[in-house]
């Protein structure tokens, strides 16, 4: 059964054109042209056809925290948000630090509506002490290692892991990526929001920006020393952006992501004392928000990530210190990136699709130009449709969105994953 997306404006890394897209039963794009008709025809007129989005940073909570999210529900939310691939963080229970858990995540992923790309922890149990079996994990196809949720504190161990990773690239077929959550724990300990004017007024202990910046600085130095590819997760401060900009100018192999909330929300939101605004790294200041947007615009930051972090409702009905950090992101990222980043649509699509696809090592099948023979991982977005955010209406098992009640512009209409229409007219098919 063939599928045709009709009348959409295609935007990919090759440019723009208005053409129909025919997708064959083999899950590949069969034809791109005019006047195409298939067994099933989806209207894309007035819409944009893009390679599907790739999230470099999703917490899918399975195995172990299925109360908050499962791979199936997380992927469904991803599909509704236009994603065709999600990079799954390893802070599961048990930790994704061995081949068995990687295979479990991948196996669950195969039954979901996105390609699930497992990451593995750099250290066993993410405890920052013992190196995970990186060679075995690379042989199992893992290309990204991260202790996300915490930064790897010990500079000596970080150096060793960087060095070790450079010897694994040939087995993987591309450089191994180490993704760091930059936070010097000794400096951030006991803090629950950004340390600054707001934390001082609100009486909530803060985490200084320097807790992030010191580790960004350290890791840039270690990249210079070792040549490892380091990916900076969720940059949140102006100085972090500036340091990464300098590292790139010096030709170092570093990449970076920013989340939607770090270029939209500020620490002022914590004045509600609602832990829905509690996130790591914390929401920063207006100055930082502007710097993140500049970093996205000038290419310092390679990708927009979600840091989608579902938490069961009762865990957020707690005092600010006791509630877990994190917010939902998959279903709102495209609209927020389009409406609030200051970037135009082609730039937004690049930051959501083909640039993160390259970092994730899936550029052969995601973020690929829309041409015959390419895998049909696509989304169709309406840049003008408005909708109102409702946590309860989301596919996620959790509802901790900080944008509840906001009306956003730009909506995902259809998502095609390996040729299958998994979202049609904004509704998930499975």
């Amino acid at each position: 059964m063939s599928l045709v997306l009709r009348g959409g404006r295609i935007i990919d890394s090759g440019g723009e054109r208005i053409l129909d897209v025919e997708i064959g039963e083999d899950g590949l794009i069969a034809a791109v042209g005019t006047g195409l008709t298939g067994d099933v025809n989806l209207d894309a007129s007035g819409c944009v056809v893009s390679p599907g989005f790739v999230d470099l940073h999703a917490h899918l909570r399975e195995p172990g925290l299925e109360e908050a999210e499962t791979i199936q529900t997380g992927a469904r939310g991803g599909s509704l948000g236009g994603y065709t691939a999600l990079v799954a963080m390893p802070n599961t229970d048990p930790t994704t630090d061995c081949v068995a858990v990687v295979e479990q995540v991948r196996s669950l992923g195969r039954r979901s509506t996105c390609e699930i790309i497992p990451t593995a922890a750099m250290t066993l149990r993410r405890d920052g002490v013992d190196m995970a079996p990186m060679g075995e994990l690379v042989d199992a196809g893992v290309g990204i290692f991260t202790d996300d949720g915490t930064g790897l504190q010990d500079p000596r161990l970080m150096r060793r892991i960087m060095e070790y990773s450079t010897g694994l690239g040939r087995r993987l077929g591309r450089p191994v990526v180490l993704a760091q959550h930059c936070e010097v724990a000794a400096l951030s300990a006991g803090g629950y929001m950004h340390e600054g004017e707001w934390s001082s007024r609100l009486g909530i202990p803060g985490q200084p920006a320097e807790a992030e910046e010191l580790m960004v600085m350290r890791d840039i130095a270690l990249v210079r020393m070792t040549g490892a590819h380091l990916h900076f997760q969720h940059l949140s401060t102006a100085s972090s952006v500036a340091m990464v900009r300098g590292a790139k100018a010096a030709g170092l192999p570093v990449t970076a992501e920013a989340t939607t909330h770090h270029f939209i929300l500020t620490d002022a939101a914590c004045a509600s004392y609602d832990p829905v605004f509690k996130v790591h790294p914390p929401l920063r200041t207006d100055v930082d928000v502007r710097a993140i947007r500049e970093g996205l615009a000038d290419g310092t930051i390679d990708a927009i990530a979600t840091d989608h972090a579902p938490h069961a409702p009762h865990t957020k009905e707690m005092p600010f210190d006791q509630a877990p950090a994190g917010m939902l992101g998959l279903e709102t990222a495209f609209s927020l990136a389009l409406g609030d980043s200051g970037l135009d649509l082609p730039e937004v699509l690049a930051l959501l699709s083909w640039r993160p696809a390259a970092i994730a090592g899936v550029a052969d099948r995601h973020g690929v130009p829309v041409v015959p023979g390419a895998p049909a991982n696509l989304c169709v977005v309406d840049p003008d449709e408005t909708w109102t955010v409702s946590g309860a209406a989301m596919a996620s098992l959790s509802s901790n969105t900080p944008y509840e009640g906001r009306t956003l512009r730009g909506r995902v209409r259809h998502t095609i994953r390996a040729g299958e229409p998994v979202v049609v007219d904004g509704e998930a098919r499975r």
Partner: protein, 331 residues
């Protein structure tokens, strides 16, 4: 951003006193004026009136406290309200119940007003958003302790007639003090000048915009002050690396007999209690004729009677509930 410390809740369903932030001079003066009435009741042979008969005040303390809880209970009973007490230590919280569930259960017992204390900033505000009952913040982490500020203002006003033009030093661990945050707002709203005196590590990380001046040495300003407000120093500030030792702190900041003697004869000494004798205040200074520490305790009951009466007896909203509001009228 405005200089005031905000105090807010999720909604305006109940009538609350959550903080001094958002209250203006007339709001504060209304409570202080009403306190005169209740102070008079406290001086009667039988200090009890039926104003809140049949109403129930629940003290919901997620953090240990003896004095504040007793003060609220005495205030409630003088108004003929019933009191019930919730203690976090012996409750189902230790069994993993969410704080929202806890609050809803207490409400179901028929309480009319919750007096809430918690070790984390904002918890009273969150509780106010979850219940239709009135909520009084009896201390939320390092944020606010509004009835303490009201009783302090009442005590100063009782001695001086007005806070206008007074120069008041708040000395000690401002960083971790809800009393300091509430008093900065209350003292300045009532026309006083506030000087914060502390080592740099015991000040909030960013206080640009606060209506205060900051100094790190006490001795040079001691003779120019109308009042000193001493904050409690806790031993854990040393293990946190904020000060080298209590001895060094005391050497620089303790109100000793020698220092109190250098203060003006009509200056006042306040402390929210309990005092650490020899750390922030010496025994001689605490009992000096300038000390009004016991007056503060007595006035605490009167102020809390006024607050409970305003919230339960008159249906008044005390101060603003939402961000940006200054004063709310009747609701």
């Amino acid at each position: 951003m405005s200089a005031v410390i905000d105090r807010r809740a999720d909604n305006d369903r109940g009538r609350h006193l959550l903080g001094i932030g958002g209250m203006d001079r007339s709001d504060l003066e209304e409570i202080l004026d009403l306190t005169d009435t209740f102070a008079e009741i406290g001086r009667r042979p039988i200090p009890k009136v039926p104003a809140l008969r049949g109403r129930t005040v629940a003290t919901v303390f997620f953090e240990g406290s003896t004095r504040t809880r007793m003060s609220f209970e005495v205030a409630a009973r003088r108004l003929s309200a019933d009191t019930v007490a919730f203690n976090a230590g012996t409750s189902s919280l230790s069994k993993g119940e969410s704080i929202r569930d806890t609050v809803e259960v207490i409400a179901a017992y028929g309480a009319d007003l919750l007096v809430v204390r918690h070790s984390m900033a904002g918890t009273a505000h969150r509780v106010a958003g979850w219940t239709d009952l009135s909520v009084v913040n009896a201390g939320d982490g390092c944020h606010e302790h509004p009835t303490q500020a009201l009783l302090d203002c009442y005590t100063l006003r009782e001695r001086r007639g007005s806070l206008d033009g007074m120069r008041i030093a708040i000395i000690g661990d401002v960083r971790h003090s809800r009393v300091a945050r509430s008093n900065v707002l209350a003292f300045t709203a009532l026309g006083a000048e506030v000087v914060l005196v502390a080592p740099a590590t015991l000040l909030p990380p960013a206080i640009e915009g606060w209506p205060v001046t900051v100094v790190h040495e006490l001795d040079p300003i001691l003779g120019d002050l109308d009042a000193v407000y001493l904050l409690r120093i806790q031993g854990e500030r040393i293990t946190e690396g904020l000060i080298p030792s209590l001895r060094e702190y005391a050497s620089d900041f303790c109100l000793t007999a020698g220092r109190v003697a250098r203060m003006r004869s009509d200056a006042l000494v306040l402390h929210p209690g309990p005092t650490n004798r020899g750390v922030e205040i010496s025994a001689e200074a605490a009992t000096d004729q300038r000390s009004v520490i016991l007056d503060q305790v007595v006035n605490g009951v009167s102020v809390r009677m006024a607050v409970l009466f305003l919230l339960l007896g008159s249906g008044r909203q005390l101060g603003a509930v939402d961000a940006g509001d200054s004063v709310e009228g009747d609701r």
